[in-house]
């Protein structure tokens, strides 16, 4: 029997007012995967995430979660399955970190609710798992961007959802916090959590994601294992930027720009990367011959 995907997007299109944003998207995500959405600004990544969260309704096609059309699920039961981890944001009121994480318990509550001892334990547990218990009584507005992102992940944990949608979680974080965030994502993914996240950094995909989905002008242009999909060729097509995807003896793969302001620095490259370079030159060649 074929394994049922956790999330399935079928022939889904969406547009704001007259302008179509996404065209006939097909995508399926297995439980436990880390899927990274890559694409230039305005390509529709965030919109796709909002659609999968049920915050927007597709114009056509369908999105299902565990085989059920999410349009048919009410907001509450959907929130118990899929959690939204927004970009770190500033909020208008200085709630404590614990209050923010407690909001994650709302989908489990009835009409007029009070938080119970159980809720508080779940929240303490979530704070503990992300090692931010010491922040519990600090104001959310006064902690650092990285700590805020961890707070929002803790809230998603408290929500009890096993699937996390993250819209550019690393944006606005300093370098160290970005890496710590990736750590947390890997850790949780090993416990069986599913992540769908958008990012502007292909390296983040290369380092932690199982799959990369590349979106341009509202369509998926590539979808596959990161190592297969992310190459200097695809990045050139996606971002119109010339980069080399390099790997030094056994290290993570990195993206290095070929040229910055007319100054070209290719350096000496390892075998694999040289092959990529050759590939790219062929691509350039083709393009040039197209132009001619």
């Amino acid at each position: 029997m074929e394994l049922k995907p956790l999330i399935r997007v079928e022939e889904m299109s969406f547009g704001y007012a007259e302008k179509m944003v996404l065209h006939y998207i097909n995508l399926s995500v297995e439980a436990g995967e880390i899927v990274t959405l890559l694409g230039p600004n305005g390509c529709g990544k965030s919109t796709l995430i909002k659609l999968m969260l049920g915050l927007l309704r597709p114009a056509s096609g369908r999105i299902s979660f565990e085989g059920e059309n999410i349009a048919r699920l009410d907001t509450k039961s959907l929130a118990r399955k899929i959690a939204y981890v927004p970009q770190t944001h500033k909020i208008s009121f200085p709630y404590t970190v614990r209050d923010v994480v407690l909001m994650g318990r709302i989908p489990h509550k009835m009409f007029f609710f009070r938080y119970s001892g159980d809720d508080r334990n779940i929240v303490d547990d979530a704070l503990e798992r992300l090692s931010i218990s010491h922040l519990a009584n600090r104001a959310y507005t006064e902690i650092s961007g990285g700590e805020r992102q961890l707070t929002l992940i803790a809230r998603a944990l408290a929500q009890g959802a096993r699937t996390f949608m993250m819209d550019e979680p690393a944006s606005g974080l300093d370098y160290g916090n970005q890496l710590r965030l990736l750590d947390q994502i890997i850790k949780l993914s090993r416990e069986g959590y599913t992540f769908i996240k958008s990012t502007h950094s292909p390296e983040h995909a290369l380092w932690i994601a199982d799959r990369a989905v590349m979106i341009k002008n509202g369509t998926i242009v590539a979808d596959g294992r990161c190592d297969d999909v992310i190459s200097s060729e695809t990045l050139l097509r996606l971002y119109n930027a010339r980069v080399n995807v390099l790997q030094f003896n056994g290290s993570f793969r990195v993206c290095v720009p070929q040229t910055i302001c007319g100054c070209t620095k290719t350096g000496s490259l390892q075998g694999q990367t040289l092959a990529l370079m050759a590939e790219e030159e062929r691509y350039d060649d083709q393009k040039r011959s197209c132009c001619v």
Partner: protein, 338 residues
């Protein structure tokens, strides 16, 4: 955080003491001892009291001072609670209950009926209905367009408020300048002297009900103040809950105008003071606002009555006390603003 458990008993005690003490304040001097003696005599027939004095005290306390104090408490609570709810819902600490035009609409309704109707009851009904109507227009304008609902609602409120403010000017212009105009102007400055028990009962029940309901819903307010998308991702039917809360806040704000005309600033300042005292968590903030708002307006009314020989309209006192106070707390209040 040990304070939290004893917070509400303390607030309630302060409220009762303020209300009780205010009973002794007024033109006719009554000492606290007199008051205690009177209540002991009336309730338990303890002690001796001259029948004439007893009647006099009874009429001072129950006919003159108590309705004022109750009205001040109700109005203070209602404006503060709806202010706190609006601030959370519209994700903006600078919002006040008049945001969607309810106060402008109710003022217009009051002025209109003061010119064209004779019965005070009709004036009150008209005041209430136009308050509701103004918010309905604001919501209607917001619903006509697609986009950021919060922004559209604020815009709708600005439009609706401006519309009814200009209509109010029209009424003022055509009103008879010897009798009607002064009555309208005085009403718009706010005053508690016209309050009677029947109005108190009719306005008080929905107001208290709204305060209780908003308190029960206050858990959602925290999530609503994170923005629409996040609140929805947390499983909240944002539109439905927001409309319900707007309805409650509108009803109670419109009823404050029915009771005592326009009283500004309370709904903006009290939530800030309460936030400084008990923190931003709406589950505690909203009920705290109810008590603090009540105490504040009782005190302000005492000041209006006692400061000069002539009573100052309470709307003027709230602004005159509120504005410098707001400047003082601004430093604290702007913590956490973007």
């Amino acid at each position: 955080m040990k304070l939290k458990k004893s917070l509400f008993p303390i607030l309630f005690a302060i409220f009762v003491i303020t209300a009780g003490f205010s009973l002794t304040l007024g033109k006719y001097p009554v000492s606290i001892a007199d008051m205690v003696r009177f209540f002991l005599y009336r309730a338990f027939h303890v002690g001796i009291m001259n029948a004439e004095v007893c009647n006099l005290f009874g009429s001072i306390f129950f006919d003159i001072r108590l309705p004022r104090i109750l009205a001040a408490a109700l109005i203070g609570s209602s404006l503060s609670v709806s202010g706190a709810a609006f601030q959370a819902m519209f994700v903006n600490p600078l919002v006040s209950p008049g945001l969607l035009g309810v106060l402008a609409g109710a003022s217009f309704g009051a002025a209109l009926s003061m010119v064209f109707c004779t019965s005070w009851f009709t004036v009150q009904i008209c005041t209430f209905l136009f308050g509701l109507f103004a918010v309905l227009i604001a919501v209607g304008i917001a619903k006509m367009h697609k986009g950021n609902t919060i922004l559209l609602l604020v815009l709708g409120g600005v439009i609706s408020g401006a519309f009814f403010t200009s209509l109010l000017s029209v009424i003022k212009y055509i009103a008879d300048p010897y009798n009607q105009l002064p009555a309208i102007v005085q009403w718009l400055m706010g005053g508690l002297s016209l309050v009677d028990y029947r109005t108190l009962l009719i306005a008080g029940i929905p107001q208290v009900a709204s305060i209780i309901l908003i308190t029960l819903f206050s858990g959602y307010l925290n999530a609503l103040s994170m923005g629409d998308e996040e609140a929805r991702a947390l499983g909240i039917s944002v539109e439905r809950i927001r409309m319900f809360l707007i309805f409650l806040a509108t009803v109670m704000s419109a009823l404050t105008v029915v009771l005592a005309g326009m009283i500004g600033w309370v709904g903006l300042i009290i939530p800030h003071i309460a936030r400084m005292l008990v923190g931003p968590d709406n589950k505690i903030l909203v009920p705290a606002c109810a008590f603090i708002g009540a105490v504040y307006l009782i005190v302000v009314d005492d000041v209006s009555r006692m400061l000069f020989n002539v009573e100052i309209p309470i709307g003027i006192t709230t602004s005159l006390i509120g504005i410098p106070f707001f400047i003082i707390i601004l430093r604290q209040a702007k913590k956490g603003w973007n």
